[in-house]
């Protein structure tokens, strides 16, 4: 098998989600349709145009991380470091026993450490520059999760960060797969985003896509006639990617293989041009990359923007590729809110658990608009024999990404 088509396996999952801290708690919540969306508690959101969020429950950073890391990390980095620890443990990998240059870290980010940055800016303007933490130099930065994971675990192989809103969460897995195929034995990838603080909230509100509802069960309704924006969430997933044969040789459990990846960009709007986005091409390229016909796909994890025009575009695209109600579609992110770059890695983790358990987790709260022509799995989980899953992720500004996962052979 040539390097370009070498199979890459996912062998470890670390999850920090609004409806479950840790993979097992998350999966237990997701398969029973338990939502983690509620009123914002991380700051006083009363009076803001959006008042609901998906907040990760019960995370005590001091229990998971040495005190050395606390003064220099934003909340999102603490979650990412803990999730990376869990993913490595889940993969039964001890980084200290591996070649430092044979391990890379490639994560996505969409906002960086906003809460940390907000606190330091407050000190700058209220107390003066002498009061700004030296760690502000990197703690706010998009690449900080990759950097801190690499330092904590002694990983010196190919590393980096990708910033493409929600689509970046799949693009990093594609980049991690490239790194594995070029000879890096193990790559820690995925993303954790968290910016539920006044500054982060102000930034998120500028998208115009946040739900103004104060009712958790009515706030985020993708593919519903009442779709009116989304609820922001925090968290995501960190995944361990390895060469499939090496994983097999060391006796690792394989959740599934990352067989297809693609990314496209929407064409610029122009007079007389149709409204079709680049999403269909992203899906078709990912299927082609995986050597999969549409009929092979057993379930689709939708981007599920809950913005009517984007829902219509995604539904139209799925109908075009798979046919009217041609494949089960789900959006478990209705239970977490949208996690920005953390959403797609979490969807990939969810898809891999779904392949393992033979159950499609539901889309909650949504009553699908029949005009979309989707077989949306709503209300309760659906048992199914699952071999192949498609995950779709989009980013504000025209990013489209898709990934095809298969159960281990």
């Amino acid at each position: 098998m040539s390097a370009a088509t070498q199979t890459v396996a996912v062998t470890g999952l670390g999850v920090a989600a609004p409806n479950g801290l840790g993979k097992d708690a998350y999966w237990a919540a997701i398969r029973t349709g338990t939502s983690g969306i509620g009123p914002v508690t991380r700051f006083r959101a009363e009076g803001y145009p959006a008042v609901l969020a998906g907040e990760v429950p019960g995370f005590d950073a001091a229990r998971h991380l040495p005190s050395r890391l606390l003064p220099q990390t934003d909340h999102m980095t603490r979650l990412a470091l803990a999730a990376a620890d869990w993913a490595l443990a889940d993969a039964d990998v001890d980084p200290a026993r591996r070649d430092a240059f044979g391990m890379g870290v490639i994560t996505a980010a969409s906002s960086g450490g906003f809460e940390f940055g907000q606190n330091e800016l407050r000190k700058l303007w209220s107390l003066g520059s002498q009061h700004v933490s030296a760690y502000q130099s990197f703690a706010w930065f998009y690449a900080v999760n990759s950097g801190q994971i690499s330092i904590r675990n002694g990983m010196k192989g190919p590393s980096g960060v990708l910033v493409a809103d929600g689509a970046g969460g799949l693009d990093v897995l594609a980049q991690a797969r490239r790194a594995v195929r070029k000879g890096t034995g193990l790559v820690v990838s995925g993303a954790v985003d968290a910016s539920i603080c006044p500054w982060g909230w102000a930034a998120l509100l500028t998208s115009g896509r946040l739900s103004s509802s104060d009712r958790p069960e009515r706030a985020y309704l993708p593919f519903d006639r009442h779709a009116a924006g989304h609820v922001p969430g925090e968290g995501g997933a960190i995944l361990i990617l390895e060469d499939a044969r090496a994983a097999q040789a060391r006796g690792a459990r394989v959740y599934g293989t990352l067989d297809g990846c693609a990314a496209t960009f929407d064409p610029a709007p122009a007079p007389g041009r149709g409204a079709e986005s680049g999403l269909r091409r992203a899906i078709e390229l990912a299927l082609d990359d995986a050597g999969a016909e549409p009929a092979e796909v057993d379930v689709v994890f939708a981007d599920a923007a809950a913005v009517p025009a984007l829902d219509r575009d995604e539904a139209r695209t799925l109908r075009a590729v798979f046919g009217q109600r041609g494949v089960p579609v789900t959006a478990p992110k209705t239970m977490t809110g949208r996690l920005y770059s953390g959403a797609a890695p979490l969807d990939v983790a969810t898809a891999l658990l779904a392949l393992t358990e033979g159950v499609i987790p539901p889309t909650v709260n949504t009553g699908p608009d029949p005009a979309h022509g989707l077989d949306l799995v709503t209300g309760r989980p659906r048992a199914a024999e699952l071999r192949c899953a498609l995950v779709v992720a989009r980013g504000h500004g025209g990013f489209n990404s898709a990934a095809v996962l298969r159960a281990p052979r």
Partner: protein
């Protein structure tokens, strides 16, 4: 003359500003242990220096921080400044 800067002051400021590395005991005899062995790199020392400057209302030379390889070295440098400032 202001109170002298002591090891206890330094330990408190290190803890507040940079925490402690796993497996490091700041209450052990650390006066002559290199900062790098205690798990503090240059940025941790920059943060520590900034906190000392704010609390003691002094300005340390960049070289005073860079040259202080151990707690004893940093404590001596700070006390030299406190003495100079008071003189």
């Amino acid at each position: 003359m202001p109170a002298a800067f002591t090891l206890d002051d330094l330990k408190r400021i290190l803890l507040e500003g940079a925490g402690t590395e796993e497996g490091v005991d700041l209450d052990a005899d650390i006066l002559d242990t290199p900062f790098t062995d205690l798990g503090y790199e240059s940025l941790a020392l920059l943060e520590t220096g900034g906190r000392i400057e704010r609390e003691w209302d002094i300005t340390l030379d960049d070289s005073a921080l860079a040259d202080a390889a151990t707690p004893r070295g940093l404590i001596d440098a700070v006390n030299t400044h406190i003495g100079t400032a008071a003189a």
